[in-house]
């Protein structure tokens, strides 16, 4: 294919990708001028481009669509559903032709005339156009090759992986070299170049990681169309609402979740939503709402698919389970709702009464779950009868780098994927009570009994000693099962590049892979699911085990802890911020930061945001992470040294002594952590934008208290303090008595605030404020400023 033609194909694809959601939006509101224009532009551009190539069929089709849309734009024709269908069918045909063009094949003859006829105004046979469309969709799906992002080059994922693992190896080799250099003492002639190499390598690694990242939009953009086509076919009305398309995740991960997500959406449209008539009968809006959202929380991505359909019928599910011999009647009877709901993940279950063409092709939620788990994710389903269903997917950001917790057992270090870890309990702390049942141990955590395995016993090293003096790691398996793993010590959080193990080691079923720690020593990653399976804690018996722990999931979720993100500030102190306000985490260049007198600013995506956190340490020299915090309306950035982890604050936050960036101190995993005061942060940044034209304030009197103590308060309230008595001041603050100051007229000041050191006087005399009545002072200052504006 010649280059120009390839360019044409790529450009058409690019426009189409942008257009996908527009098309559906336009269909819902055919009168929407902006959307109409976008679609018009598309066919117009295609038509124009066809002129350069010898593509008569494409040219004809796009011309017909263009003329029809032009009529609509000119108001001479109403965009009825027949027209919409015809236009969409034409676009589909264009796509199919472009695909064929790229593959170097000839698109099958015929059918074009029918499409063009459907575009004609006289045609009122909507059914025909719809049929044409369905037909062309089928064809399109049959031979459409996998499409790529806009203007991208295609690379085999293996190549990316090879480069990635090469870079990871380089990092490890660098670490080893660094260690040796340290051992042999400092050699300045080597140190400089090594530092440079090291910095470059970090940059490259960052780049490679991002090379693998893709906006989830690429996946989401196809969903409106999918839902539209499905609901049209099934006679349902579904409105799709997609959110969080800007979240980025590993390219390969995007591919891996494409099918599971598509399946979940098909399920929702097919089984979840009622027909419009049923919905009205149930007192709901006839149009169902499908909400798909993606959110990054810490180093995990949360994807939620929720519908407001009929919910999952657990009774039916249970009957099905009995019919397909997944569970016995007695077992079902002992299950609570959540357990019954979890049956949906059992192989061979489908709640659809009839197998439709959309879902129920024998691909069930068990396959979806298996696929999600294969990439290290978990899936969770909640449902309320008659109200809807919500499916939550938790996914790791990347496939090859796994966040892990390193632990010690019998003098050796091991790693556990962090995704499994629910909680860490020190058995000495008394929050877990341990009892022995035969040879087994049970831990009682908040009233729930949890099977406890000692890692040393799992390894067969030490069968005797119990978990009494150990640290318990509460592990949650994908199916929702819990167990506790007793280890000697919890060491550290690490991001590990996991490599496969030799078959002889894999055969133990205890390990999932290996990685090299920074000091060059190998560490084994435990296969938590494998260990659980070995000890009969999941699979066939998992319902039984789950029943042993009734309500545990509730107990954990009912803790009502505050989810927070732990990080290290620029001053190297450990802090936490409420996860809810964290929009996302970005890495930025120091050059994007501007330090100004009234705080720092940062340029992100061509917008200027206030940057907090920099007053606690110098701006780093290399790229550094920032937290993007949002209160729903405003966004600000907070500079940090490193992101540590997400955690929960279960206890109280003991308030800080004074108002400021820190709300208070909380205990996270037994260590005190400062919690950011988001209210204060946003409040002060709002102020930041208001100080562009600061009001002025002058202190009257020689009391050093004014300058040292009051000045920061006045400044934080948005005042510029002037000392020149001849200058105009919007407000004058004085400590002098009522009688001995000059009159307010002489100052040329609009306002006068008198502060006194005796609260009694402040209570007695109007216009005076006790010097530590912060609220009073701020109110007076604010009022004075209001006065100025007025």
């Amino acid at each position: 294919m010649d280059d120009l033609l390839a360019e044409f194909v790529a450009e058409t694809r690019e426009m189409l990708e942008a257009l996908e959601s527009e098309i559906v939006a336009w269909e819902q509101v055919p009168g929407d001028k902006a959307r109409l224009d976008a679609i018009f532009r598309f066919v117009h551009t295609v038509k124009g481009n066809c002129g350069f190539f010898d593509l008569p069929r494409l040219a004809k089709l796009s011309h017909a669509a263009e003329s029809a849309l032009a009529e609509v734009r000119a108001g001479r024709r109403q965009p009825d559903s027949a027209l919409v269908d015809a236009v969409l069918a034409t676009i589909d045909r264009i796509v199919a032709m472009v695909d064929a063009l790229e593959a170097g094949q000839d698109y099958p003859e015929g059918g074009d005339d029918a499409l063009m006829a459907a575009l004609e105004p006289s045609n009122d046979d909507g059914g025909e156009a719809a049929a044409l469309r369905a037909q062309s969709v089928d064809k399109g799906q049959a031979n459409s090759p996998g499409r790529d992002g806009p203007r991208s080059i295609r690379l085999p994922v293996e190549l990316l992986d090879r480069v990635m693992s090469g870079v990871s190896d380089m990092v490890l080799a660098r670490n080893e070299l660094a260690r040796r250099l340290r051992d042999y003492g400092v050699e300045p002639t080597i140190d400089g170049p090594f530092e440079r190499l090291s910095a470059v390598l970090d940059d490259v690694r960052d780049g490679i990681t991002r090379m693998r990242m893709q906006r989830i939009e690429h996946l989401f953009n196809a969903f409106p169309r999918l839902v539209r086509d499905l609901s049209a076919e099934l006679g349902k009305q579904v409105l799709i609402d997609v959110e969080g398309g800007e979240v980025e995740l590993d390219r390969e991960m995007v591919e891996m979740i494409r099918d599971p997500l598509t399946h979940i959406i098909r399920n929702a449209v097919d089984h979840g939503f009622e027909t419009p008539a049923e919905r009205i009968a149930a007192g709901k809006r006839e149009i169902g709402l499908l909400h798909i959202s993606a959110r990054q929380s810490g180093n995990r991505i949360l994807i939620a698919v929720s519908d407001d359909g009929r919910g999952i019928d657990t009774g039916k599910l249970a009957d099905k389970a009995v019919a397909s011999k997944i569970a016995s009647r007695a077992e079902i009877a002992a299950m609570d709702e959540d357990e019954k709901l979890a049956l949906i993940f059992e192989p061979g279950i489908s709640t659809a009464a009839a197998v439709t063409s959309i879902s129920g092709r024998g691909v069930g939620m068990d396959v979806v779950r298996a696929n999600i788990e294969r990439v290290g994710g978990t899936i969770d389903v909640t449902s309320a009868p008659g109200k809807g269903t919500r499916i939550l997917l938790f996914l790791p950001l990347t496939l090859s780098i796994i966040p892990a917790l390193t632990i010690e057992c019998c003098g050796q270090r091991y790693a556990i994927p962090r995704s499994y870890i629910e909680e860490i309990i020190h058995s000495r702390s008394g929050s877990a009570e341990l009892v022995q049942m035969g040879d087994a141990w049970l831990a009682t955590v908040r009233g729930e009994r949890i099977r406890c395995l000692t890692l040393a016993a799992v390894f067969g090293i030490d069968q005797q000693s119990g978990p009494q003096r150990a640290t318990l790691i509460l592990v949650r398996l994908a199916g929702g099962d819990f167990f506790a793993l007793a280890v000697d010590r919890v060491l550290d959080h690490e991001e590990l590049v996991i490599k496969p193990l030799a078959p002889a080691v894999m055969a133990t079923g205890l390990y999932a892979g290996t990685s090299l720690l920074d000091d060059g020593s190998p560490v084994l990653m435990l296969d938590i699911a494998g260990i659980a399976r070995k000890h009969d804690l999941i699979s066939d018996v998992h319902r039984r085990v789950r029943r042993e722990l009734p309500g545990l999931e509730h107990a954990v979720s009912a803790e009502n802890g505050v989810p927070v993100l732990l990080f290290t500030g620029l001053d190297s102190r450990r802090r936490a911020v409420r996860l809810d306000v964290v929009n996302r985490v970005d890495k930025v260049e120091p050059t994007s930061v501007t330090l100004t007198d009234d705080g720092a600013r940062i340029v992100l995506d061509d917008k200027v945001f206030p940057l907090a956190g920099v007053n606690r340490g110098a701006v780093p020299e290399g790229r550094f992470p920032i937290l993007r915090l949002s209160d729903g309306k405003c966004e600000l950035a907070y500079a940090v040294q490193a992101i540590a982890d997400s955690a929960q604050i279960d206890g109280e936050i003991s308030p800080a002594a004074r108002a400021g960036e820190i709300e208070g101190i909380a205990l996270v995993e037994g260590e005190p952590v400062e919690v950011l005061d988001c209210h204060w942060l946003f409040a002060s940044e709002q102020r930041g934008s208001a100080v562009l034209n600061p009001a002025t304030c002058r202190f009257d009197g020689n009391d050093p208290w004014l300058d040292t103590i009051l000045r920061p308060l006045a400044e934080s309230a948005g005042y510029r303090v002037v000392s020149d008595e001849t200058q105009h001041a919007d407000v004058v603050i004085t400590t002098n008595g009522l009688g001995d100051g000059a009159g307010s007229d002489a100052d040329g000041a609009g306002n006068r605030i008198r502060v006194v050191s005796d609260p009694d006087i402040a209570g007695r005399e109007a216009g005076t404020i006790y010097r530590y009545d912060r609220a009073g002072l701020l109110a007076a200052l604010a009022q004075a400023r209001m006065g100025r504006v007025a």
């Binding site: 190896d169 490890l172 080799a173 080893e176 019998c410 050796q412 799992v458 390894f459 067969g460 090293i461 490599k499 496969p500 193990l501 030799a502 078959p503 002889a504 080691v505 055969a507 133990t508 205890l510 390990y511 290996t514 990685s515 090299l516 060059g520 020593s521 190998p522 560490v523 084994l524």
Partner: protein, 145 residues
């Protein structure tokens, strides 16, 4: 035939591996044990930022005495790197013949890894297959059955 052989000693006996199969010879100083594995797997070691699975050759051959030496032969098998611990690595010699059957058995344990006798510039020597050692004794039990 001018194939090179690496001569080593396992449990007091002189043996040879094909030099083509050998990546390098290393000294294993720190070993990370891997609980739960068969005893012939000594553990993991790091070599140039790659993890090696360390195999005790003597135990893999089900010989009485365990390997005591520090030296190990690094070989790649099915995409994984292994280090075969041997008593000592002795020399490199040129093979002067194709492997020939040794009359009768070379003894239990040796049998499944032995590829025959090779005449070399250092005299006749038993040629062992690294892959068979890596597979371990379980493999030999299967073969016997």
């Amino acid at each position: 035939m001018s194939e090179l052989l690496l001569l080593a000693r396992i449990a007091g006996r002189r043996i040879a591996f094909r030099a083509l199969d050998v990546n390098s010879v290393v000294e294993i100083d720190t070993l990370t044990p891997v609980p739960g594995t068969p005893s012939f797997v000594s553990g993991l070691a790091a070599l140039r930022s790659r993890a090696l699975t360390v195999i005790d050759s003597a135990k893999a051959l089900e010989l009485e005495q365990a390997t005591t030496g520090l030296e190990a032969i690094v070989t790649e098998h099915d995409g994984h790197l292994y280090a075969l611990q041997v008593e000592a690595v002795e020399d490199v010699a040129e093979a002067l013949s194709e492997p020939q059957d040794v009359r009768g058995s070379v003894g239990p344990g040796w049998e499944h890894a032995a590829r025959g006798m090779v005449e070399s510039s250092a005299g006749p020597i038993l040629l062992l297959d690294a892959g068979a050692i890596i597979a371990g004794p379980a493999h030999s039990a299967l073969r016997a059955a």
